[in-house]
């Protein structure tokens, strides 16, 4: 259980200052969090599952899960998840992790990149926090490339949740390192899992707001929560979220022991299903209030919708898992599920 890990509670406390950025009517600057980063880094939250000799805190994969979950639970908008996961990918390839915030780019955003004579050429799109981080991890056909973003032309963009998703132009740009043993698919899997954790955390907050609102808001002389139509919508969404959540633990357990492809695909699919339903139900039971900028709900629901589209949407992962299941040994679905 994610919350049973003491790292979760300490991460919630550490991220509290960033969580208040952009609440209410404030539209935050994309770098509003940067002043808090040195503290997060010093206290070991930025590379939770990276070995100490490679620059990290030396924790286990579930610590990474706890930090990413906490970050999304308090809607702290900063590249902490990206840093934790990019760092873990570098460490898995035996590469030291550079200091400072990191990012990683979904493979779909790297289609226009080429490594020619060891130099990077082209445009990466949908790069999280490009203008605010020092290094990025790019999935290429040759493996993962670690690059600095210094000297690149960055065109700023944002996702639905207001997080920077930028375009970066590389011209004769020499990577810090190209890691041939680290695959683009490994990055896609870890990125999809990262977004799944965030979706589940945000979905839980959306439901908590829905429960809080419907148990206090009185209409027709009684709290909205006393209507079965309201109760059953929230119960149905919470059930789907429970399935998605336990698969996060399953995926991180599998990561610790090797191949987590099946678990990550299942976690991703369930997170997308649950996230969508939780967001929809939370808005429905809030009435107009949930639609207001000043109210917190959209901070969670817009993020859910943004994160569902990053690192492969549900359709991609469902096709991939279905194809794996059909190709399973002796084409036995049960063997695939229990192996």
């Amino acid at each position: 259980m994610i919350e049973d890990n003491p790292v979760h509670a300490s991460a919630l406390r550490a991220l509290a200052p960033i969580s208040t950025i952009g609440r209410g009517n404030d539209v935050p600057a994309p770098d509003a969090w940067t002043g808090h980063w040195p503290t997060l880094e010093r206290d070991g939250f930025t590379l939770p599952a990276v070995a100490a000799e490679l620059g990290g805190t030396g924790g286990e994969p579930p610590d990474e899960l706890a930090v990413i979950h906490a970050c999304a639970a308090v809607a702290a908008r900063c590249p902490l998840p990206e840093t934790a996961v990019a760092g873990a990918l570098l460490a898995a390839a035996g590469h030291a992790v550079p200091a400072g915030p990191l990012t990683l780019v979904p493979p779909a955003g790297c289609a226009g990149l080429a490594l020619v004579d060891g130099l990077l050429e082209g445009v990466a799109t949908g790069v999280p926090w490009a203008a605010q981080v020092g290094h990025a991890l790019l999935p290429l056909s040759q493996g993962l490339a670690l690059v600095t973003l210094e000297g690149c032309v960055i065109e700023a963009g944002r996702n639905l949740a207001g997080e920077p998703r930028d375009s970066v132009r590389f011209h004769r740009h020499r990577p810090v390192a190209v890691l041939p043993d680290a695959s683009a698919d490994a990055l896609l899997l870890r990125g999809a899992l990262m977004r799944s954790v965030q979706i589940c955390a945000a979905a839980e907050q959306a439901l908590k707001l829905a429960i809080g609102y419907t148990t206090t808001r009185v209409q027709f002389g009684k709290p909205l929560a006393s209507f079965q139509a309201v109760q059953h919508q929230i119960a149905g969404a919470a059930s789907k979220l429970a399935a998605a959540r336990i698969l996060l633990d399953a995926a991180y357990d599998a990561l610790a022991s090797g191949d987590a492809g099946r678990e990550i695909a299942a976690a991703r699919i369930n997170a997308c299903l649950a996230g969508g339903e939780c967001a929809s139900v939370a808005h429905q039971v809030h009435g107009a209030m949930g639609y207001a900028w000043e109210y917190d709900l959209h901070r969670h629901t817009s993020a859910i919708q943004a994160w569902r589209a990053e690192f492969g949407p549900l359709t991609y992962w469902a096709e991939r898992l279905g194809a794996q299941a059909m190709a399973a040994p002796s084409v036995d679905l049960w063997q695939f599920i229990t192996s």
Binding site: T215, A235, A243, A318, G322, Q324, V331, L333
Partner: protein
């Protein structure tokens, strides 16, 4: 997390790999494997149950002195999911093994345990459960079947409906009102009723698939010996609800349609990979939740809320499998079809409406979950 916690415990099953292989080998060799069934735990086949019993597969977790195997409930979980994945006809013993055994172990007298448990474990005795009545369905606590204490024993009058396999079972665990002045949850008791008792009559209630599984059971002054009271008079509601987590959380609550998906690979049914992936992902989530509840039960907890959630989510998956496969079926579904997949889809379509009703209707389960979330 929202007061509903499911620790991930799939690894707890790893210890039973050899046992899993043993069950698979048994199923591969058994004649029942040639005729897999959808909703297989509603399929009554006493001979198959006796073959399972001969392997020691019934009462796996019970004490050896009552004919059990003294194995963990997680090992039993492995057994159940393998039986269900094979579509094996486990309906004859399912209720007796799942509910009656644990009930008697928890509340029965030593004489009751000695008399009934070894014979259940040998698949010699099958029990039904008498709960619903003509005027008491989801509102079970309104039931009116009454047992009056007399010098010769309990005298039972009343009527039960939707009683599965009453016409094939030897005994019933009857929930009835033993305090005629009582209201609602108070004053209820559980009795073990011999189905051959004078005054007990059955009327079949064929279900929409045309099968005779349900019955109406009428009690006209049926005499039940005093020593057939289970537990304490008046404690019936608590005793019934203590079994709910076992009843609602097992793999049969999301695997009733699994044999359809498993069979797909052997057919020309063109299910798009995306749809199979979606259903598989949901199955993986439910399996993890169900294992988690089994582990909680193994640890001595009583996760009724968590079990309700498994059943709520599981019945939706079981029903969706039939829907998704029907939408890709080229020929009309027919329970008599020579094509196995076609037949399994037809069986599922005719059984699926019951999945979200039996063992607690969806509305009841969502109410339980809503209470767990603090909504009521």
């Amino acid at each position: 997390m929202l007061q509903i916690a499911f620790p991930h415990r799939n690894a707890d099953l790893d210890a039973f790999g050899a046992f899993r292989e043993r069950v698979r080998a048994f199923l591969d060799a058994d004649p029942a494997a040639r005729d897999p069934r959808a909703d297989c735990w509603s399929q009554f086949d006493a001979a198959f149950s006796r073959r399972l019993a001969a392997e020691g597969f019934l009462g796996l977790t019970w004490p050896k002195k009552y004919g059990g195997g003294e194995r963990s409930s997680l090992e039993r979980f492995v057994l159940l999911e393998e039986l269900l994945a094979a579509g094996a006809p486990v309906g004859a013993h399912w209720i007796s093994e799942r509910q009656v055994g644990p009930l008697l172990l928890r509340y029965g007298t030593e004489a009751q345990r000695t008399e009934f448990l070894p014979r259940i474990a040998r698949a010699e005795l099958f029990f039904c459960i008498g709960l619903s009545e003509p005027d008491s369905g989801s509102d079970l606590a309104s039931l009116r079947t009454t047992a009056v204490s007399t010098p010769e024993g309990w005298r039972v009058r009343g009527r039960k409906v939707w009683t599965s396999n009453a016409h094939r079972n030897h005994y019933m665990i009857l929930l009835c009102r033993t305090d005629p002045q009582s209201q609602r949850h108070a004053g209820l008791s559980q009795l073990i009723v011999d189905m051959a008792s004078p005054g007990l009559t059955l009327r079949p209630i064929p279900n929409m698939s045309g099968e005779h599984e349900f019955n109406e059971v009428t009690f006209d002054d049926v005499l039940v010996p005093a020593d057939r009271l289970v537990g304490t008079a008046g404690n019936g509601w608590e005793q019934v609800t203590s079994e709910l987590a076992f009843e609602r959380s097992g793999p049969e609550r999301f695997m009733s349609s699994f044999i359809l998906l498993r069979h797909l690979a052997k057919t020309a049914h063109a299910l798009p990979a995306e749809k199979l992936g979606l259903l598989t992902a949901r199955l993986l989530g439910l399996r993890a939740l169900s294992v988690s509840v089994a582990a909680m039960l193994n640890d001595g907890k009583l996760p009724n809320l968590e079990a309700a959630l498994v059943k709520e989510l599981g019945s939706r998956l079981e029903q969706d499998v039939g829907e998704v496969l029907l939408d890709g079926l080229e020929s009309a579904p027919n329970p008599g079809s020579a094509d196995t997949l076609n037949r399994l889809i037809a069986q599922t379509l005719l059984h699926a409406p019951s999945y979200s009703i039996r063992g607690g209707a969806r509305e009841i389960l969502r109410g339980i979950i809503a209470r767990g979330l603090g909504l009521r």
